[in-house]
Symmetry: C2
Subunit: 235 residues, 2 copies
């Protein structure tokens, strides 16, 4: 039975890495001693070791061990053997590029579908959708494909940001970008504000956290949903 | 002799499409009667006809005719015959995807290098660089390559935005994104604020407009340059 926690961000403003999620993660990873961390998204260009250290420090607080996927000679076997998986944020292009080029995407999909608990934050959440086509990141490398895990039947837009009404900047708003996405793609998009996360248990998908989320369906006006909303039928 | 005008944005807040550039464009397109407009970037999903109409309305004010590249049976020949070219903004992924798939990128590079006057705004400016790797856009389609015209020896980040100091949003700042770009790419990046543009005459590249720009070179701290700065040696 699938078990995922798909979070908009790892970090809330002014608090430590993963701090706002630790209570939730204690329950979520109850039966997991060691979590395999995938550091490929390299936020700010961090090395895999340095990034893994950050995840390790956070998870020590709830007595979980972290081991970086880059430390294994056979990452595919490591994922098959994993008790739990955490994919951290950073640059989605770099993450997706690595998952495809190392032939890890299919294995990751398969173990998540088989029930290995999966935590994703930001780019690690973006890849749970059908494609990375609603990423906010800069295209600093060219992945062979934008296809991602598809372990939920819609796309995620992490760090969802409402239009800044006082802004004089003429770059596209997030909502305009997602509207443009829907000229070329049909899947729904869930804009997850920082502090929100989706909990997936089997085929049930529920919005959690203190905030509303914004849903963009193809050929429909965007709408708000409140925490606790069941999104299992969204696609 | 190359002749380009590479603008951060088509539109300044509160003013009409291209209004702030019209005086400049009157001089720039002095010897051009008809400009071929490339509408492929489709801002907000606009049809090619609708987008071409917007460009047409703006250029009527300075007595220039606009014809959309999509109106030609043979777009490659149309570019070879063009007296002037304007590539409008929108989504860089959609623009670059179309330029590659229609085999137009090489012809466009070739006519620009041969001296056909070229105006780019936003996505149309981004493609003047070596790659679209410093685009701000959402990856709504998957281009076969991120390589672009390379008619200037560095990359452009259009709509450059300084960090919002009061923001509590945890998404990456533009400067962090460009720093991540430099972990995988070595070319310099010029962050063009809205209202700035580069004027290219032959191999001379000069920053124009009322604002400073921000330059990001590989392995160097970012720095500001003032209007009038010659960027010909940047790479």
């Amino acid at each position: 039975m699938k078990k995922l926690l798909i979070a908009s961000t790892s970090t809330l403003h002014g608090s430590a890495y993963l701090a706002y999620l630790l209570d939730e993660l204690t329950v979520f990873f109850q039966s997991t001693e060691t979590i395999v961390f995938i550091p490929y998204a390299r936020p700010s260009g961090l090395s895999h070791d340095a990034y893994t250290k950050i995840a390790e420090t956070a998870f020590q607080k709830i007595n979980k061990k972290i081991v970086g996927l880059h430390e294994f000679d056979d990452p595919i076997q490591a994922l098959k053997d994993a008790e739990g998986i955490f994919v951290g944020g950073g640059n989605s292009f770099v993450l997706v590029d690595q998952l495809h080029r190392k032939n890890i995407m299919n294995t990751l999909r398969s173990v998540v579908n088989s029930g290995t608990p999966y935590l994703g934050t930001s780019a690690g959440s973006n890849i749970c959708g059908i494609s990375m086509g609603t990423s906010n990141d800069m295209p600093i490398v060219h992945p062979p494909s934008f296809e991602t895990l598809g372990v939920i039947p819609f796309n995620i837009n992490p760090h969802y940001l409402d239009p800044l009404l006082e802004s004089k900047h003429m770059g596209e708003t997030r909502a305009t970008r997602i509207k443009e996405f829907h000229f070329f793609n049909t899947q729904a998009v869930v804009g997850l504000r920082e502090g929100s996360f989706l909990e997936v248990i089997g085929e049930q998908i529920v919005l959690k956290g203190p905030l509303n989320a914004r849903v963009f369906e193809h050929h429909k006006a965007p709408y708000e949903i409140s925490s606790g909303t069941d999104l299992s039928d969204l696609h």
